[in-house]
Amino acid sequence: MVDTTDYDRDVEIHWCPGCGNYPALKLLKETLVEEDIAPKNAVIVTGIGQAGKFSHFIDGNMINGLHGRYLSNALAIKASNPKLQVFAISGDGCTFSEGGNHFLHTIRYNPSIVNIVHNNAVYGLTKGQASPTSELGVKTGVQTLGVYNTPFNPIAVAIAQNASFVARAFVGHVEQTKEVLKKAIAHHGYALIDLFSPCVSFNRINTYQWYRENTYYLEDDYSPFDQKEAIGRALERGKLPLGIFYINERPTYEENIQIYKNDSRPLWQRELSKEKLTSLINSFR
């Protein structure tokens, strides 16, 4: 049994007081404990940003890689050792701007990883520039005329890409978010959680209160299996739905590559067959 303190790490946390990353960290740790996932079987892979520092504030295996590239790290870990539970976590800038291409394509590969994007609609670590999810009109030190690029809708894009699990959550709602997280963990395939997480230092608009007032949950009888329906909900303006938008289970990347079909050992446990090597070489004689 995993203990409640197993994921605690005795380090100073670098976030601002009140930052949405605190409840996010707490609920992730609690969920891991409740799901009885031992730290040694999990890997937290993060990019660079405030959300990217996540991997430092939780005990266990981790990569804190490059800005924008964590999904590629995460996918390869899963493909090299499918026994590991891989959590890929970073910010909205990291995932949707610098890492936009990997976001688009990792969905297509469908590795069984949980991808949590701390969406605070701002660049926190670099001090307040707009992110792809910033709203139209928001002024910053760089967007001096206000944001004019159409905001990025990660949920709609993920569903358009036929992502196999697509959800949105809000750090202010601990229980519901844990529920979503548990389903994402249980899901077979790539699972995206777009996690609303306020930046109290640089985003004066999307505050805890704003999210409380501008979100609601998908109905209990909402069925997340219809792509068109799901994308319709993702495109809703006004109040933003929370919950699981879309599920489309299909073979995962680890399955598709076939090398674990008859041999479940991770790559590191395998040996090169010298006979096969020699016979390959001899085929050139």
Partner: protein, 576 residues
């Protein structure tokens, strides 16, 4: 100084993309080799799928042939453009064998011996002009003396899946080709060609390309993950591994872009795989941030960088050694790395194999530099000695209190992976403590940099020595690196045979280089570096690494490889 090629014949096939030159080459060279002749072939082609003008040079000999010569003994043109495409390589001894319509009016052909053979009409007699290539194979094989049964076997393997009719028609075509060859030989039209003696032992040698050697080397190195984004001339290595993916349990991933490729290789090594990235200059440029990530996290990584002429898109299907400095200096911040540049197929195999062990052991990026010429060149060799290689693993089983970046005497911290042992594996792209925590402490920063550079000194100490050919007391020392080995070596041999006091020094590890290699340079009165690039990048590196000043640089940067003849000519100017 003209070179006499007493013991070899050089055949050039020239035509448009899509005409099947590669098929002719494969069948002919395989059959010649199986018949017991030494064979070399190299391809030169344009960046297009159909049309244009491509050529393949094949050399056949009683003795080992591994270098590229310009001279053409037999030219088989497949288009009207073919003869002019290779005109600079033709002489009055060159013999053009093909459909006269394609060349009889061409001024460039006039001094040559012309033999009219209409492969296509013979093929049509058999049923379809699709068989012309097999007719051509038969003609050439017949002239050169390859045994017909080998071709028959090869054709059967190749076309079996298309039905018996196709197989037998192809065999017919080859047989007709052999008959034509007999007629040609009987007709006395041919110039006098060296007569070959075959050796059965050669028949059972390996016959492979640079691409094959690198890919097999990777497998022998325990590679079980390969990532790449298609880019000439590097894709072939990825495709080779893809073909063998299930046999060897290799994750084979054509990624969305090169950035993903290196970051996946990174994740794979982290999790205990042995990953290879294969790319070319433009793709490598995109990977250099990832290289820097491997640098600070001390993650092993193996990159095959198949060079082609830049900048930018440059000449996608031509050759150059222009990315040495790119490989050496790119990636932000200072960190150690290792660069190999194989000169022979055997080195391509063994260095790629070893790259995985070195990367794993020292936890540094290892980059293998090849180029278009090397990748697309083939010759026979006795063996790869794969039984002497070993997959060396340096992953430890961790304990609960494991710290990833523990300071050690030699700078190498034992590396764990998640799932093996009780420790946690933490890697961070920030400056970090021994326990992988982010730190901004000045002393730790300095110590971590020093720790990483200790490994460079280790690597320098155990570097592969350059190969010295010839007398170390020679007055003149020719120096080169990477793919130019055979061509330069044969040129130097020619000079030595002519009585010049020349030795040759070839580097297949180009970084780091130990200071001790000074001794090779000691006696030479003149030092000449030969490089297939515009600025003499290796000469600069020798200066920095060893403090050696170069007297003369022989550089070529047309996009084409050095030929034996031009090397002999250029070097001769320098040696007298």
């Amino acid at each position: 100084m003209t070179i006499e090629f007493k013991d070899s014949i050089s055949i050039v096939l020239c035509g448009a993309a899509g005409q099947g030159i590669a098929t002719v080459e494969t069948l002919l060279t395989s059959a010649l080799k199986k018949s017991g002749l030494h064979v070399f072939s190299t391809q030169e082609f344009m960046s297009r799928v159909r049309g244009g003008t491509n050529s393949t040079t094949i050399r056949v000999s009683t003795n080992r042939v591994q270098s590229f010569c310009e001279r053409i003994d037999i030219l088989v043109p497949f288009t009207r453009e073919a003869v002019s495409h290779v005109k600079a390589r033709l002489s009055s001894n060159s013999c053009i064998i093909g459909d006269k319509k394609l060349f009889q009016d061409n001024v460039d052909a006039q001094s040559c011996i012309m033999i009219d053979v209409n492969y296509e009409s013979v093929a049509e007699e058999i049923g379809h002009r699709v068989y012309s290539n097999s007719v051509a194979v038969g003609v050439l094989a017949g002239i050169l003396g390859a045994e017909r049964e080998y071709i028959t076997g090869l054709l059967t393997d190749r076309f079996q899946s298309k039905g018996e009719k196709i197989v037998s028609n192809n065999i017919d075509a080859v047989t007709r080709g052999y008959k034509l060859a007999d007629e040609i030989k009987a007709s006395d039209q041919l110039p006098s060609l060296p007569s070959f003696s075959t050796q059965p032992s050669v028949g059972s040698e390996l016959f492979l390309s640079g691409r094959d050697a690198v890919a097999i080397g990777a497998i022998a190195g325990g590679c079980n993950y390969v990532t790449f984004y298609p880019m000439a001339p590097s894709t072939g290595v990825g495709a080779f591994l893809a073909k063998n993916r299930l046999e060897f349990g290799i994750v084979t991933d054509q990624t969305e872009d090169e950035i993903s490729a290196i970051n996946k290789a990174f994740g794979a090594w982290y999790a205990g795989a042995r990953a290879l990235v294969t790319t070319s200059g433009g793709g490598f440029a995109l990977m250099t941030e990832g290289l820097s990530l491997a640098g600070i996290t001390e993650m092993p990584i193996v990159i095959h960088l198949a060079q082609r002429p830049g900048p930018a898109t440059g000449l996608p299907t031509k050759t150059e050694q222009g990315d040495l400095e790119l490989a050496l200096y790119s990636g932000h911040g200072d960190f150690p790395r290792v660069l190999y540049a194989p000169g022979t197929l055997k080195e391509a195999f063994s260095l790629t194999q070893q790259a995985f062990n070195v990367a794993d052991r020292y936890q540094v990026p290892v980059i293998i530099l090849t180029d278009h010429y090397f990748i697309n060149t083939r010759y026979n060799l006795p063996s790869l000695d794969e039984e002497k290689t070993q997959v060396e693993r340096y992953i430890i089983e961790t304990e609960r209190e494991y710290t990833r970046y523990q300071f050690t005497d030699d700078g190498v911290s034992p590396r764990g992976i998640p799932g093996k042992g009780e420790g946690f594996i933490r890697v961070d792209s920030h400056t970090h403590t021994q326990d992988s925590q982010i730190t901004e402490d000045p002393i730790i920063r300095k110590n971590m940099v020093d720790k990483r550079f200790k490994k460079l000194e280790l690597l320098r100490g155990s570097a592969i020595k350059p190969t010295l050919v010839g007398n170390p007391e020679s007055e003149i020392l020719i120096i080169s690196w990477g793919s130019t080995f055979h061509n330069v070596n044969d040129a130097v041999l020619e000079l030595r045979n002519k009585g010049y006091s020349v030795a040759y020094l070839h580097f297949s590890q180009v970084y780091p280089i130990p200071k001790s290699v000074e001794i090779y340079f000691k006696n030479a009165k003149k030092r000449i570096v030969v490089e297939n690039n515009a600025t003499g990048q290796f000469a600069s590196l020798l200066n920095l690494e060893v403090g050696i000043q170069i007297d003369k640089q022989v550089l070529k940067y047309t996009g084409y490889p050095f030929s034996l003849e031009e090397l002999v000519k250029e070097l001769k100017k320098e040696v007298q």
